[in-house]
Symmetry: C2
């Protein structure tokens, strides 16, 4: 049965996610995770050097699920303008759903972002990489003007911070936020179009 299986990093991550969801980032302990798995907490430390490393690994898994959803948008064969718009909307929607539907895990992610953890930095790098790809394809097909697609992608990411940075999460439930999002996206897309 399950509890006699070899203890793997994956099983620990699944259990940790569950413990975080139940207890929240402030009260979830390594001892709780070990108890949930029916092992001693020393065993958990065999797979993750520190509690911070465990927390970061859980966050990485969780962030990667968003990255994968968005990569599908990058691969679509709509024109770059539409893809960019859809990508930004998908990012906003994904973050908003996580903030609303998984508040405890989202709090963990927010804490980690505040500590400028490795996983969050990588996540942002991956996202801006996807954006760069869309911008570059727009430049190639002549609909976007951008001397440095990577720098422009970063500017796009920063200009839309309000709609994906966790420190703004409280505002994502306010009425009218959709219109604000559309207004900002319209503005930056106009700034991107070839003259």
């Amino acid at each position: 049965m399950a509890t006699t299986e070899i203890l793997t990093a994956e099983r620990i991550l699944v259990a940790t996610e569950e413990v975080l969801r139940r207890h929240g980032p402030a009260k979830a302990t390594v001892v709780d995770v070990a108890r949930a798995l029916g092992v001693s907490h020393g065993s958990v430390y065999r797979h993750f050097r520190t509690k911070a490393a465990l927390r970061e690994a859980v966050t990485k898994r969780w962030l990667d699920r968003t990255t994968q959803t968005l990569s599908a948008v990058v691969a679509q064969d709509h024109d770059p303008q539409a893809r960019l718009r859809e990508w930004l909307a998908a990012l906003f929607t994904a973050k908003r759903r996580k903030a609303g539907g998984d508040p405890e895990l989202f709090a963990t992610y927010t804490v980690l972002a505040g500590e400028s953890g490795e996983a969050v930095g990588e996540h942002i790098a991956t996202l801006t990489g996807q954006l760069t790809e869309i911008v570059r394809s727009g430049v190639d097909s002549g609909v976007f003007a951008a001397a440095d697609p990577a720098a422009t992608a970063l500017a796009l990411f920063h200009a839309t911070d309000r709609f994906h940075d966790p420190c703004h999460a409280r505002e994502w439930e306010r009425p009218g936020i959709e219109d604000e999002f559309e207004a900002v996206v319209d503005l930056v897309l106009r700034g991107l179009r070839a003259a």
Copy 2:
């Protein structure tokens, strides 16, 4: 001498600012303020109904100093493009200087912003009002295209959130932030120009 003068709201605000600077928002008490003024704390409550009202009045005074600095930029007779650029740069500079030079008062402002206090809402309304004025003058002179100057001004404000919202203050000291700011401003200014 000073301590025998009539106790005015202004004197209380000055003393409160000093107490906040010294103790920070978490530890500054109304009793501290009264002690600094050599009066009983009951007297302070004669001028401000609650501690929250006092804190908000201090924040308002402090925010108004920024508003006044920026209104000078609005009144300049440069072309709208230059004025908009200067206004955004002046806002970023002002916020950054406050975050770095007055960390305790800035923390108070951040706390208040989180509680969505009246004063912060008014401050933001005033700022977007100034932005609207610049956008409108650009539309009038034909250099900007904007169907709804007020909505466009709000979009500009949101697109540059990263460079004035207190929740991003930690990032304002990072190297490269100037370039990120320039990139975002370039992007939105291009989005604003008349076709």
